[in-house]
Symmetry: C2
Subunit: 434 residues, 2 copies
Amino acid sequence: MRIAEVHIHNLAIADPPIRSSYGLHQPYALRSILELKSDDGVTGIAETYGGEAPAAALEALKPRLIGANPFRLTGSLMDLIGGEGSGDARSQTMLVPGENPLDANPRTYSAVETACLDLIGKTLNVPLCDVLGTRVRDAVPFSAYPFYKHAGGGGEGDDKREDEYGEALTPEGLVAQVRQMIATYGFKDIKFKTGVLDPDIEIETVRQLAREFRMPVRMDPNSAWTVETSIRVGRELREELGAHTGGYLEDPTATIDGMAAVRRGLLAEGIDVPLASNVAVTCFADLPEAFAKNAVQIVLCDHHYWGGMRQVMQLAKICQVWGVGLSMHSNSHLGVSMMAMAHVAAATPHLTYACDTHYPWSQAKDEVVLGGRVPIVDGVIRIPERGGLGVELDYDQVARGRERYAKCPYRKRDDTAEMRKHVDPTWERLLPRW
Amino acid sequence: MRIAEVHIHNLAIADPPIRSSYGLHQPYALRSILELKSDDGVTGIAETYGGEAPAAALEALKPRLIGANPFRLTGSLMDLIGGEGSGDARSQTMLVPGENPLDANPRTYSAVETACLDLIGKTLNVPLCDVLGTRVRDAVPFSAYPFYKHAGGGGEGDDKREDEYGEALTPEGLVAQVRQMIATYGFKDIKFKTGVLDPDIEIETVRQLAREFRMPVRMDPNSAWTVETSIRVGRELREELGAHTGGYLEDPTATIDGMAAVRRGLLAEGIDVPLASNVAVTCFADLPEAFAKNAVQIVLCDHHYWGGMRQVMQLAKICQVWGVGLSMHSNSHLGVSMMAMAHVAAATPHLTYACDTHYPWSQAKDEVVLGGRVPIVDGVIRIPERGGLGVELDYDQVARGRERYAKCPYRKRDDTAEMRKHVDPTWERLLPRW
């Protein structure tokens, strides 16, 4: 089996105006789809970050892909995820995920690895998690992922979407948003994006969510706070976010040293609110220092930028050995990434929390998976009894996504620009803001 | 594809009277071969530690093997390598590898995993290292593995073997042994088993080996020394074993704290002789403490007892991330283990030294691989362009190995008993001895 064709599709998908400490989501999120077609006529697919840079990186790799044996290709590209300039550099806190040049090569590798594994699995009629060889669960739990949100459903002009969830900028608005999301998907956990409003409002919002839904709540202000504010929030929400509830506080403040100071401060008061991270810790090179300083108690993996599925499985083993939890981070995505996340989670024994997903924020009109959106029922995705990822591309939908990409002005994610356009023309990302 | 038949073969192979701090090798080493035969008529094989206990553990697992899908089986057995009583217990220093009850389950898992990967590879005609998916080398380097040795070639009665290497109990004897081994196999590194004679004789032996062969020399006394003796040997052999030469000192003394004290003592004198280990560190649970204390600079993996090939690849990633070297430990073995070691090494990017192998100490008469012994040429094993491990069983030879096992009195490895029988009836293993 050889790879005969390589296709890269740049897509734009409608994205509602949701907020984080990075700013405001633009009307379209950008995603890339990679297709590796074998000389047997089977196609392996992967989804990754979109826009110009990721597609250009995949395009530049084409000469190493064409003609390659998919069983050998992932080994022959290991230079992209080991050694100099290949993701061993350290984390940064200012750029949104997918825009960090330090993990450009691991992101490229990951897309190729996922497409190879899908191609192998589809060729053999073996589910991808069984190609990885360590499936430990058939159903993968995901969390509700509420955001503070302005009115609007995403898209622009004739392509504007219905506003499925409506505005949510108050505690009551968030409770309504979560109620709707749980009614649709059956989630059993809540991961709440914060760092947007005054911490006292966000504290009150968490309290209302915990009281209303009586399920684990996790809070992610994306480094928006000082060490002192982080400790104060942890103190005030010790009952809502404490380890005993299955909750956590994610990246309250920037840097490994900042996180370590928050943890020390909370423990000094006898408060066990564990700290999760996908900002202070985003690559393997961060782990020894982060663990030595007790800066993170949960690492949030993401096969898209940690160098692929096998690397995430290695990360999980590391976390298990060091007694650190593991869950999964997410970004705006379609059904191909959704299934990839589900498969790697199914093959990862040490997965200690329900995973994040932005999937509820995308809509059927943008889905590129044949047959429509991936079902999330009772908060879980079931691994289908089909080869590879278990999903195929709907090429009409891919064509529509490419058209939207061609028409829209966005070529990389820029939450600051959107914030200035719609909320405050002088807005700057401040770290810390509170 | 389903597993239709499971066969376990207990073999005895002639083993020459070689010495270590554990004592003296018995005339036969014991090995087990596992066969998993699919309903398509393809057979996957693995070799592991022999004798009664490993075979009984595999036998007890049969109900979970028969009828299983080999792509799913390794996932469904993950309980053997995670959680309580499954290799997460800590290391011990008194028992020889393969006799440590703390890693019984990981050893059982490893045999099943190797046989599944071989079965998958043979079914698909894909080399095993490409089933693992991260092949980074086509040729795997191994080291010469000289031992202090009494006269004799192993075997008993009519089954006595020719003494290929002769007695070697002096520096000159060891030089002659290594010369012969290098002439036959082309090794480019020397791993020297010590802890047998007075340290001054062993120091002189290392000096003569280094002077004569001008290649990296590694010295392994298996915990025979005090911290003080270890530091003295490191000091005297700083030029022969130093990091700048590619050498190391392996398990000079027992326990993580002992190793850490040796490292501190050497560094305090400005001596960079790195310490390797497969005694102080034998399982994942040892790593955080060992790294935090800087007790080991090289971990010696072994897929047989670390829980299999994928676990060894995860160990290698851990070592890479923490800046620790990785090489491979060995025990008396046949060609099936030889190829398994070569494949996992081929698929492990972070392999920083030539691997150990006892293969020169076994003979063609005992080999169970069809076509005879695995070739080591210029010190490397090349990955064959064949499916799975690339070797098949010679069933006549398996039958002879079973006959030898039935006839011989040995049911577990006991180097102390042999030492008492042939060298000193009062011999006890002393840690430390010097």
